[in-house]
């Protein structure tokens, strides 16, 4: 009897172990089920590279190039800000900060990671957006730049914690060897630690960027939501994620617009899948 009970439990454990695979597949299947129709009716190429997104005009124009470029612009800006700052902070925490300060800094980074994106979006709206408006003399501060700055903050916790892990896991002997040969602390970091940790740091950067591309609420509140081809970083843009979040409420279930938003979801899913798999490869290369 006990044996029987245990077999049941062990089967249940196996099923739950497989749950993650099941859910990832389920997400993809359901996105595909709803979104694939658009690839048929509009065509994959025209959908990805069509220059106008007018989903409720008659007939609807469903080209997501402006949205892709909006996402790329905001992401590139966020990456340019968050990579140097994030990696710099990781080096400081891992190599330079005294133990007590290290703990405080790590708590600060965890705090940042915990702040809900809608709260960051709200704070960005009331502080950053007016600032961008006055500094650059713009008609509106709701721009790609404001979005980039805010998103940089959301990428930093990911970048800092994973890059710090990477630095931490470099064998101590590397560092001791370099110092014993008379290198300064900085020379050791720059010539020995960073190259040794490079694949982990690369993974950190990729996962940070993945976080930025998928971020929704803050970006929707700050970037101004104009679905046009962006000409500079100082104009309102709209990202892939914000489009889904802003328009799904109005889309009728079963209409072309509804399917098109799911097709955008497929694009996002594929991007995040590619980023995560590649980052995972880099992380495992280290081991």
């Amino acid at each position: 009897m006990r044996k029987f009970k245990e077999i049941i439990i062990e089967k249940l454990i196996l099923i739950c172990g497989l749950a993650s695979i099941f859910f990832v597949a389920l997400i993809f299947i359901f996105l595909l089920k709803e979104g694939i129709q658009v690839f048929k009716s509009v065509g994959l190429f025209k959908f990805l590279f069509g220059k106008s997104w007018y989903p409720i005009s008659e007939p609807p124009q469903l080209g997501i190039l402006p949205l892709i470029l909006g996402s790329l612009l905001v992401t590139a800006g966020a990456a340019a800000i968050s990579i140097p700052i994030g990696v710099g902070c990781a080096i400081y925490i891992a190599e330079i900060a005294p133990l007590k300060i290290k703990e405080i800094l790590k708590a600060g980074i965890e705090l940042l990671a915990a702040i809900p994106s809608v709260v960051l979006g709200f704070i960005g709206m009331v502080t950053l957006v007016p600032l961008v408006k006055t500094v650059f003399h713009l008609p509106t501060g709701l721009t790609a730049l404001a979005g980039s700055i805010m998103l940089a903050f959301m990428a930093m916790p990911t970048i800092v914690s994973i890059a710090e892990d990477a630095l931490y896991s470099v064998p101590k002997t590397y560092k001791e060897g370099a110092l014993a040969l008379g290198a300064t602390q900085w020379q050791t970091i720059w010539r020995v630690m960073l190259p040794a940790a490079s694949s982990g740091i690369l993974a950190a950067v990729m996962l940070g960027i993945g976080r930025v591309i998928g971020e929704t609420m803050a970006v929707m509140m700050i970037t101004g939501n104009a679905a046009v081809l962006p000409k500079s970083i100082l104009v309102p843009v709209r990202t892939l994620t914000a489009t889904i979040a802003a328009e799904m409420g109005e889309a009728v279930v079963g209409a072309e617009h509804y399917f098109a938003l799911f097709a955008i979801g497929i694009v996002l899913f594929v991007i995040s899948f590619a980023i995560n798999v590649t980052a995972d490869l880099f992380l495992h290369k280290r081991e």
Binding site: S20, I27, I109, G214, S272
Partner: protein
């Protein structure tokens, strides 16, 4: 020749600067929200329904909605996540399947939150016909926090020394008895930490609940799990972007309540982790 120590001083200065560029704004954000939000917080704000098109009154239904959603999410995610963690830590072998499971967890953690919203809409709201309801929202959030729970629980289980298991097995206990009576009790603080972190994550997310449960304005408490509900993060989004002329105080007050709720959970998780580390017997 360049003086390497001067180079070092300059480099360290920039590294410190980078660190301050992250930490100072974080501090500022928290200070601003607390400073401007605190005057709005009073008993009426916490216990009243929103009034005058959300320009007055309180946020009680949103608080309750969030509590319902988070509870639902954890009821769904904790058993599955814990069993999945047990599988990975106790049963899995180092083979292709295990590799695939780990990769799936990484990917599930990386799926954009709004895509979870789409998925919840397609599966729970439309396909299962649950409608926009607490049930749909909780299940969506539950799947979203699964990776957090699996990863932290697995770490907790794996940190129980192997010798514990060997002793138990050598005394004639079966594998499941060992897990149930030896491994699990020793891993509980770690599992609790993961659960609370998952709760905090679920409480703060907006995008997954946008189309699955969130009500723009619902001045009463939800009656069943098939009811829509207001939720704090969505309410903050609504009053800061969708409703004009809302008093700043109410916006900051709502942001403060949400922030405190999430930070409190993280703080509890950190405290448990810290205490656990100190009293570890091995």
């Amino acid at each position: 020749m360049r003086n390497p120590y001067r180079t070092q001083r300059i480099a360290f200065f920039f590294l410190l600067l980078a660190t301050l560029l992250i930490v100072v704004p974080v501090g500022l954000i928290v200070v601003i929200i607390v400073q401007k939000g605190l005057p709005a917080i009073n008993w009426q704000f916490l216990s009243d329904i929103p009034r005058h098109g959300m320009r007055a009154g309180g946020i009680f239904p949103a608080i309750v909605g969030t509590i319902y959603l988070v509870t639902g999410a954890i009821i769904f995610a904790l058993p599955i996540g814990l069993l999945a963690a047990i599988y990975l830590s106790e049963y899995s072998k180092d083979n292709f399947l295990t590799r695939l499971i780990k990769l799936a967890i990484v990917n599930l953690a990386g799926v954009p939150s709004v895509v979870f919203g789409l998925f919840g809409l397609a599966l729970f709201v439309v396909f299962f016909k649950f409608g926009a309801s607490i049930l749909s929202g909780s299940l969506t959030l539950g799947i979203m926090i699964l990776p957090v729970i699996i990863t932290t629980s697995r770490e907790a289980l794996e940190s129980v020394p192997y010798s514990f298991r060997e002793v138990s097995l050598s005394l004639g206990a079966s594998k499941w008895q060992t897990i149930r009576h030896i491994v699990l009790p020793n891993a509980i603080p770690g599992i609790l930490t993961g659960t609370i972190l998952g709760l905090g994550r679920a409480a703060g997310e907006t995008a997954p609940i946008l189309f699955t449960v969130a009500a723009f304005y619902l001045p009463r408490l939800p009656a069943s799990v098939f009811d829509q509900a207001m939720a704090l993060p969505y309410h903050l989004y609504v009053i800061s972007t969708q409703v004009p002329n809302v008093d700043e105080k109410i916006r900051y007050g709502t942001a403060l309540v949400l922030l405190m709720l999430v930070l409190m959970m993280n703080l509890i998780a950190i405290v448990i982790r810290y205490k656990f580390r100190k009293m570890k017997k091995w």
